[in-house]
Symmetry: C2
Subunit: 481 residues, 2 copies
Amino acid sequence: MRAVNRLRKTIHYYQRERVMMKKQIRLNGFTQNTVAPHSPGLWRHPKDKGRQHGDLDYWINLAKLLERGKFDALFLADVHGIYDVYGDNHKTPVKHAVQVPLHNPLLQISAMAAVTDNLGFAPTYSATYTQPYKLARDLSTLDHLTKGRVAWNIVTSYLRSEAINLGLEEQMEHRMRYERADEYMEVVYKLWEKSWEDDAVIADEVSGVYTNPNKVHPVHHSGKFFSVPGVHLVEPSPQRTPVLFQAGASERGRNFAATHAEAIFTTLANNISELKTFVADIRERAKRAGRNPEDIKVFPGIVPIVGETEEEAKLKYQELTSYVSYEGTLALLSGHTGVDFSTYDPNQYVENLETNASHGFLQKYTIATTNKLWTVREAVLHHGLGIGATKIIGTPEQVADELELMANEGDADGFNIIQAASPDTFEDFIEYVIPILQERGSFRKEYEASTLRENLFGKGHVHLPDNHPAKKVSIGLAEKV
Amino acid sequence: MRAVNRLRKTIHYYQRERVMMKKQIRLNGFTQNTVAPHSPGLWRHPKDKGRQHGDLDYWINLAKLLERGKFDALFLADVHGIYDVYGDNHKTPVKHAVQVPLHNPLLQISAMAAVTDNLGFAPTYSATYTQPYKLARDLSTLDHLTKGRVAWNIVTSYLRSEAINLGLEEQMEHRMRYERADEYMEVVYKLWEKSWEDDAVIADEVSGVYTNPNKVHPVHHSGKFFSVPGVHLVEPSPQRTPVLFQAGASERGRNFAATHAEAIFTTLANNISELKTFVADIRERAKRAGRNPEDIKVFPGIVPIVGETEEEAKLKYQELTSYVSYEGTLALLSGHTGVDFSTYDPNQYVENLETNASHGFLQKYTIATTNKLWTVREAVLHHGLGIGATKIIGTPEQVADELELMANEGDADGFNIIQAASPDTFEDFIEYVIPILQERGSFRKEYEASTLRENLFGKGHVHLPDNHPAKKVSIGLAEKV
């Protein structure tokens, strides 16, 4: 009997080691506070509930679902304008509910946090249209309310319709947006990391001192774009700086991401080889920025389409694609690229378009990168199901195989699961694929911890590592008297 | 037996009529997302839980409590800076937790909305530091999530520390702030009331049309301060325009409030006669602005302090006052008035201060309005318990008597209940005073409806009345092509 126990113990040890040595996949659920976020037209699918995005119950159920699936975070995309590049007006996006109506993505988070314990929340918040002093308070507030489960998806905003409705004469020039964003990060880092010392709040009832004023420091920021002399309004939250998400695609955007981001999202890699190149490039840039390449997690976006058999999955893909709104997707793609597709022939080949093909979203559909001649129509239908992200179509085992391949060969750290129909895509994935990944030891059976950064980087990693630029900002020593 | 029944019926009829004829009191719970919102030092009180304001449970329990008390709304004050006028630095407010740490007041609302059905939420949101296109989306989002239970407390912000950290070189001049605020209101009215027609969203699965684009209109706003050409990003929410709260005290502020507000908050009336004069003044101004004077509800702030006997209540008042932080309150009063009280002798009389005594908060403590000679110390201690609002100290019956007097003789429509200790003040009031007001027919036993505007103005009044300026804005007919 003792021998049996010893053998069992040995087997258990190897099983554990096997699990521990396997690359652990991270998962975000990707959505937006709108009707049919990333798949125009899919609101008509019988299983889609996106129309209910104005109801708290919709979000509460979504959060519970993703926590049941042990997802790391719910990733909330956002813009603050209309996709009015197509035909130069708002009518097409309005007609097809292409990210309009579009509600604020931060305001439903506390209701979701109240019914979950571990799921993270990664809302998008533009650094172009909110003062850093305000954004810093908002995200610190959420980090307190969620007890350390908040990320910030940093964007600099790309729609002209945002700029002109939000106080700018014209959209800020791309290079300028990033230069400003770099200084923006400096300001929020100062507020989050340096303004309040860890032990500033003492709440001493006897002396009547709530906070030791000598441990709260004005940040004295004075730069090209921002002047923020004061102290942060919020005491240190569990994570201090929220987990930093980014999705830079351009040269400048990739450097920004490699410098600041802890999680990077991309839909541009079409295959394992492109993915591998992309990830290597990001890790190399991170190294050049003085960071540990493993401190950036790369999340390709994927649309999983699962069936009991491969045929069933393919049929499901066809069925889902049949709901894609062609005109709606044209409007979406026009917004994403800045190219007005209303003037193009659906049957012409994408590579022959006279546009700025250096734009990632279009480059993706040229023959050079995909070994496929795409017509405008084909590119649009592909873009219309999950904003052009890789579709993984097959049995649960096949989907799991592909994800493990992308993780192990492509060096992806995890995936942003993009939905065709909401919450149908998440439900299928959680019911059929998650158990297989768990069984194979590629995905957690229980959360490692309760803060988001710890779930992404391991128990104990509540705060940013010391080599992150946030830890290196200085607020000087002078005190305002 | 039939005769008895008939008599009973008659009695019942008169009782109902008595109830129906009695002026119905409205109630808001007044707080802020901070440690000790309106009573510096009270965080040390054994029953105070303000330190937990970063926890969702604190807010969830507060919302449930107020809904159990049939309150109309939870009113959330806010600033976005530090009370650093006192001694010209941040140390005193930081030390005594005088509205710092201070978290965003909008972000916990959805968690409270998820556990309540009728309670309204009235967060403060500055019209000075957020673009109207953004604020309009945020409040429309909340009005959807709460199913029509949101108000907006309009402020133009008074702290220099807000201005200099939020992108302005200096604080905007008072007159300019209001001129800008008037245009701000015009912009948000256009977005809320005119951009989307009621039946714009059709979600027709057959034709594939989600929104009829001919029923969604760009607002074409172009003014002195704002340019907002586009369409609102959110489809009509239950109330469209949130219920409008305001607390203007100055001449310009009162006109702004009388023009726009549906609920006005004040702490400046010291007695029935002053209250009556204030309310009459507001209603007169409303009339001049073309509105029905009854369409503005006036809510004086009060601090109820209840005991089983009058003596017990007085002892409780003394006990609560003993926790007031003198230095913390000086910082609060300095911020409220713009006068640095660090240079004044606590024993000198307020009326002799060489300051701009036209400021409402100071005028309040001069002999002319109160028939009492106040020293700086006395004024500060009075201000330190509920920002100088009227204290109503007595048995539950006495408190109820005084509220009915203020409602019937002073013409108050309701009260903002300001707390000494949180949630102790609300708990006592709800346990002891509410049942008496209900018994006397002065306060609801059940909510009239589920939207906030209906609870304030009666079943069916979901939207603003036609004579409100929001209904009169025009967006022109030209369409962007």
